[in-house]
């Protein structure tokens, strides 16, 4: 699936970073959905899950040998000033992953939101007999039984296949999502703007690990951030290069975002709508995106309609009482404080990622090639609409106190940060700008 997006770029490792970045997310999403369907149909015995994991690994190995036989595509423009950022990226990645591993060892079950909701539901899904239905029980007070199940279902599928419950698996999966974000960000920017920009974007990503681990948020927010980034990056690739395959990848990733969290459902709807407005002349590309999104959206929609208990953010939109309570100065102020505080706490003085981004903007300025303009406008529209939808949904959740409202703002920053980095680096000017073409 991921190979639809990048038909063999050179250097070959660039293709592999994109394959791996997108392939991991596709594998997790497909395994999670299949596990849930098997639970509904047969109870998903460990033998069935083990067989499925075996088939998936065989397909991966097959893909490896097929892609080795393919001729490489033209190289993306690159700069010879890449050695320093590449070295810093490797060292920085070691520090970031070691820090995340230390966090996972300190609290292998995660924070209260992780063990009180997502990891708890994974334990139910991996339980014997019909106990998996507890993950959807209305009796699950202070958890979200109506929230989509991609992350818990994937964790449960691995637990079932391995036959034991490893407490560190959710944290390790979160770390792999963190790494997959790096691969997707680096390779998609390298394909569209050159390797230098890709490496610098990767550096900015590893310069902001506090955004993930420091906030104490569950791994599911990293997973959602990944799916939103992958969908926007693939759709931008599709608009810039006219790739139908990339449009299909964007559709699949958006549908997985929809099955990860409620915010992902809003994101998938926004992505489909905005892509359609950008593709009014070439509707076929939008049809590819919509067709690829359809199976995942169907599962997410059926889950909401038939399995999940009623509630969540969407019904609140029709509640006039919610609207009247939402527009209170106190709540808006709390949300603003949460946003500002979250941004301030996401780095330290001189090494704050926002400061580094501002420094890069001063050095490189902004310059967008004509080929990329539509893709960049599309990405910016989806990103801004998603941020606005999230903030409105937070305000409408009038049962939440001001403290919860502030912490929700931190969640927004984590979910949208990788997409923000993508859009910023696509709009920066080039380092060794070519002239006289």
């Amino acid at each position: 699936m991921a190979s639809l997006c990048a038909p063999g770029w050179t250097p070959r490792w660039l293709s592999w970073t994109l394959y791996s970045g997108l392939g991991f997310g596709f594998g997790v999403g497909a395994a999670a959905i299949l596990h849930l369907l098997l639970l509904l149909a047969t109870g998903a015995s460990p033998r069935v899950m083990f067989a499925f994991q075996g088939v998936a690994l065989s397909l991966l190995a097959g893909k490896f040998f097929i892609s080795r036989a393919q001729p490489p595509a033209p190289a993306p423009p690159s700069s010879r000033w890449n050695l320093l950022p590449a070295m810093m990226l490797v060292f920085g990645l070691l520090f970031a992953l070691s820090g995340l591993a230390a966090s996972a060892l300190t609290a292998p079950h995660g924070g209260p939101d992780a063990w009180g909701n997502w990891n708890l539901r994974a334990r139910y899904l991996a339980g014997p007999g019909e106990s998996w239905r507890h993950a959807l029980s209305e009796l699950l007070v202070e958890a979200s039984p109506g929230a989509p199940l991609l992350f818990p279902s994937y964790i449960a599928s691995v637990w079932r296949a391995s036959g034991s419950i490893s407490t560190t698996l959710p944290a390790v999966t979160g770390e792999i999502f963190y790494f997959a974000i790096l691969l997707t960000l680096l390779s998609s920017i390298a394909v569209l703007r050159g390797l230098s920009h890709g490496l610098l974007a990767g550096l900015l990503w590893i310069a902001s690990p506090a955004m993930l681990a420091g906030t104490g948020l569950p791994e599911v927010d990293i997973a959602l951030a990944y799916y939103m980034l992958a969908a926007i990056a693939a759709a931008t690739l599709s608009l810039a290069l006219g790739h139908r395959g990339a449009a299909a990848v964007a559709g699949v990733m958006a549908s997985f975002a929809a099955f990860t969290k409620d915010e992902g459902m809003v994101f998938a709807a926004l992505l489909l709508a905005v892509f359609f407005t950008f593709q009014t002349r070439e509707v076929r590309q939008w049809l590819w995106l919509a067709a690829a999104a359809f199976p995942g959206l169907l599962v997410a929609g059926c889950f909401k309609a038939f399995l999940a208990p009623a509630g969540g953010a969407l019904p609140r939109l029709a509640d006039p009482l919610a609207w009247s309570r939402a527009v209170s100065a106190e709540r808006i102020e709390a949300l603003w404080e949460g946003l500002a505080g979250g941004l301030m706490n996401s780095g330290q003085r001189l090494t704050h990622p926002l400061l580094l981004l501002a420094l890069l903007a001063l050095l490189l300025r902004f310059s967008v090639p004509g080929q990329l303009r539509a893709g960049l406008r599309f990405g910016a529209c989806v990103w801004a609409a998603q941020a606005a939808a999230f903030l409105i949904a937070c305000l409408l959740h009038h049962q939440q106190g001001l403290v919860e409202l502030r912490s929700e703002a931190g969640r927004l920053i984590v979910q949208l940060w990788p997409g923000f980095l993508l859009l910023m680096f696509l709009s920066f000017g080039k380092i060794g700008d070519s002239v006289g073409e």
Binding site: S79, P85, M88, F91, G92, F95, A96, S98, G99, L100, A102, S103, L105, T106, A107, P108, H109, P112, W115, G116, N119, L120, R123, Y124, A126, G127, P128, G129, S131, W132, H134, S137, L139, V141, E142, T167, L200, L203, I206, A207, P209, A210, A213, G214, G347, L350, T351, H352, P353, L355, L356, L359, L362, L363, I431, G432, D433, S434, V435, G436
Partner: protein
């Protein structure tokens, strides 16, 4: 024919500085995480799981199990205790004990054994298992 412009020295210096600062940020995160490791998990979840371990095999996985402790679940500390117990005892579905709709099994956390006896007598429950550290499993007498 494309000719590559050599980047200005100022730009290259700036990019080098950004790269170093980014590395510094990752290093600072690593140090913070290492320091946090010394403090350990604030919820001591591993110890909690070990504490509840013995009870997991005695609970039904297909029906809700009531939970009560001396700290009411309306208080923040009581709520956290309930959430920890629910996570530790999964796949059993733990619900706060409701006198009006009692479940067949109830698990309680008591500092004094007398309190457990009093609860059982007042609410027609039989203590069927007593685990370590004040953990007691009750079964309803009439069902």
């Amino acid at each position: 024919m494309a000719r590559r412009k050599t980047p200005h020295a100022r730009v290259l210096l700036g990019l080098g500085l950004v790269s170093l600062l980014a590395l510094g940020s990752a290093l600072s995160f690593y140090n913070t995480a290492r320091l946090a490791m010394a403090e350990g998990d604030p919820y001591r979840m591993e110890q909690q799981l070990r504490r509840f371990q013995a009870a997991t095999s005695n609970l039904p996985a297909d029906a809700p199990v009531g939970y009560l402790s001396e700290v009411p679940s309306t208080e923040a500390a009581g709520r956290i205790r309930f959430l920890i117990a629910r996570y530790a005892l999964a796949p059993a579905l733990l619900v706060p004990y409701d006198k009006q709709q009692p479940t067949r099994f109830v698990i309680g956390e008591f500092a004094h054994s007398g309190d457990a006896q009093r609860f059982a007598a007042d609410n027609k429950f039989l203590p069927v298992r007593v685990y370590e550290q004040g953990l007691v499993l009750f079964e309803r007498l009439e069902h």
